[in-house]
Subunit: 148 residues, 2 copies
DNA sequence: TCTACAATTGCAAATAATTCTTATTTAGGG
DNA sequence: CCCTAAATAAGAATTATTTGCAATTGTAGA
C-alpha cells in the first residue's frame, strides 16, 4: 500500500508542475521524491539533509523555494508551528488532523470520524465561510510513554 | 457579563503571580489588565502599542517576558502561527477552538459541542496520551464577506 | 542537435518574531 | 528606610524563512 501511494503522489506532483509550465530540475524532482515517499512529516532541515548526499552543493533556499511552489499548487500540506520549523506532508496534501508527540516530535495522522460534522456546526453557528482548518493534538506517543 | 469576566480573570492572574512569589510591577499589572480585558486576541505588538501610552519607555522584551511567565503559570493561552505573531487569550486560558478570519485576522471563539467526543476517540485510537490540542478554522468572517 | 531565454539555482544578505545579555532600577520583606 | 533578588530597558543575538542577484540550466522551437 505504501508503494502505490508513493508512486501516485510522485506522478501527481510532477504532472501538476509540468501542466503549470514549471521546469523539472533534478533538485526539484528529488524534493518531490522525498515529499511523496516520507511517512514521517519531514522538515526542510531533514529534506535538505537527505538532498545533500546527492547534491552536495544544494542550497536550503532551493528547498524552501520548491516546497513553497509545490504548496502553492496544492500538492503538499504545510504544518507550521510557532516556535519551530514547519513540517510537510506530501502524501496527504489536504487538511487533516495530526497528533504530535511532545517528546520526540513525531507526527502521526489519526483517523477521526467525529470530524465531519464539525465544519457544518461551525459554519452554521459562526456565519464564517470556512475555507480550511487545522486540528492538532499534542501528547506523548506510545513509544515515548514506554521510555518513561 | 463582560465586566465580571474581566475582574475574575484579572484577580486570578494577580493571585497566581503573587502565590508564586512574583513581583507585581506596574508594567506587569498593566499587561495583565490588557490580557484580562481584551475580547479580541491581541498580539504582543498590540499589547506593546497600548502600553506605550502609559509607559513610554517600555521594552517589547518586557511584554514577551511577562506573557511567557503568565503563560507558564497557565493563566494565558498562546495561539501561535507559523508565519506571523502569536495571539493571546487571557480570558479563556485553556485549550478551545478558534475561527480566524483570513482577511482581517480577527479571531473568534465558537461554541462547538461535537468536540468532547473527539479527544476520547483520539486517545482510544492512537494510544497517545493526549495532553492538549489546537483546533483552528480559517475562513472569512461575516463582515468581510459583506465587503466582498 | 543546437540555441535562446526565462526559469531556476547557489550564495549571501535581509527579514521577522522572539529570546538573551548586561547594566541599571525597583518591589516588597525585614 | 534599607537590602536583595527580581524585573526592566536597550539592544544584540538567534532561528526559521525569504529575498536579491549573478551564474546556470531545462526545454520549446529552429
Amino acid at each position: 500500500m505504501a508503494a502505490p501511494v508513493y508512486r501516485d503522489r510522485y506522478k501527481s506532483m510532477v504532472e501538476t508542475l509540468k501542466r503549470q509550465g514549471h521546469k523539472l530540475t533534478p533538485q526539484r524532482l528529488a524534493i518531490i521524491r522525498i515529499l511523496a515517499a516520507s511517512e514521517g512529516h519531514p522538515s526542510v532541515e531533514e529534506i535538505y539533509g537527505q538532498l545533500k548526499r546527492k547534491f552536495p552543493g544544494i542550497s536550503q533556499a532551493t528547498v524552501y523555494r520548491n516546497i513553497m511552489l509545490i504548496k502553492s499548487l496544492g500538492e503538499v500540506l504545510e504544518i507550521g508551528f510557532a516556535g519551530g520549523s514547519s513540517r510537510y506532508d506530501g502524501r496527504r496534501p489536504y487538511p487533516h488532523p495530526h497528533i504530535v508527540c511532545l517528546k520526540c516530535n513525531k507526527i502521526v495522522d489519526p483517523e477521526l470520524d467525529t470530524l465531519h460534522d464539525m465544519t457544518k456546526e461551525i459554519t452554521d453557528e459562526s456565519g464564517f465561510e470556512i475555507i480550511t482548518y487545522r486540528l492538532d493534538f499534542f501528547g506523548v506517543c506510545p513509544e515515548c510513554r514506554e521510555k518513561k
